[in-house]
């Protein structure tokens, strides 16, 4: 076992846990200005946009791979499919796409 790797893992664990924990444990909603609360409520939807783009265009050397997968997910979600069905249909469509390309 490599000691320095274990030390690095412990250091990473600390600096990863602190930002996750501090706001949940120490922030009190009632003391946060309503405007800031509204901005925090905006965060999930903004972050979803940032998590999807540009990442989805780079999952494969073939840029169409991500676009086809995104289109499949979008169509399934638009027609109200359950989340897991959205995920599975995107995987299924891309499996077919990868098989034929």
């Amino acid at each position: 076992m490599n000691e320095s790797v274990i030390l690095i893992i412990l250091g990473m664990a600390v600096v990863t846990y602190i930002p996750r924990m501090v706001p949940l444990v120490f922030f009190n909603s009632e003391h946060i200005h309503p405007k800031v609360q509204n901005i925090l409520k905006n965060v999930p939807f903004a972050i979803l946009g940032a998590l999807i783009f540009p990442g989805i265009l780079t999952i494969n050397e073939d840029i169409w791979f991500g676009i086809v997968g995104a289109a499949a997910a979008f169509i399934a979600a638009y027609f109200g499919a359950n989340l897991i069905f959205v995920v599975l249909s995107s995987i299924a469509v891309l499996s077919v796409y990868a098989y034929f390309i």
Binding site: M1, N2, S4, V5, I8, I9, L10, G11, M12, V15, T16, Y17, P19, R20, M21, P23, V25, F27, S29, K35, Q37, N38, I39, L40, K41, N42, V43, P44, F45, A46, I47, L48, G49, A50, L51, I52, F53, P54, G55, I56, N60, G66, G69, A70, A73, F74, A76, A77, Y78, A81, I84, V86, V87, L88, S90, I91, L94, S95, Y97, A98
Partner: protein, 238 residues
Amino acid sequence: MQASTAYQQRSSDFIRGIQAGLSIAIGYMPVALTYGLLAKTTGLSLFETIAMSMFVYAGAAQYITLSLLAIGTGALEIVFTIFIVNIRHLLMSASVNEKVEEDSIWKKALYAFGITDETFTVAATREGTVTTGFMFGLCLVAYSSWVIFSGAGHLIGSALPQTLQEAMGVALYAMFIGLLVPSVKKQRKVLYLAVVAAVLNSLFTVMNFSAGWSIVMATLISAVSIEILTGKGEKPVE
């Protein structure tokens, strides 16, 4: 009688959390398998590979660490880089804190460990208040998938057929789309928030900003500017 109803409520919230986490578990599978395989080629033992997934539990951070270890980066530099990459969790934790039920700080401190891009977006886009039981179910199923498939990746490599492994790489993105679309249909503001952040993040990425800062800045600028532009006319997003 009352106690048993409360108990049933808690356990059904926990089950609902597990169900909501299944998409994440599927999405983590190819990512964790690849991490395990890369960890092995980087020279990490099975124990170290699993320990990193168990104690750090952050996909992007773990991938970056492997590439830094491979080029012989020092411990302090790695830990500092990981801190920067994970700054965005600060934003997520503060945002999810507006969404969850009040509970003892010990329980919140425990499930805080399970906050990732994926568990956060699933929890934060649910309707109404999110219970502690739901958070535990959600985080447990995602965490188990990440740890188990990290170890499996080190042991057996990517056991999936190549085409399926490639196709499964889309899973987490498909999930993000699946979370976004229903909210976009309900409120135009959600579309603005997502599009502005997506454009900014693409711009910052092209400009070679580090992944951690790029997402944080794109998200903050979008969340603040859309609030200023639409805050008066539109009600807060739900």
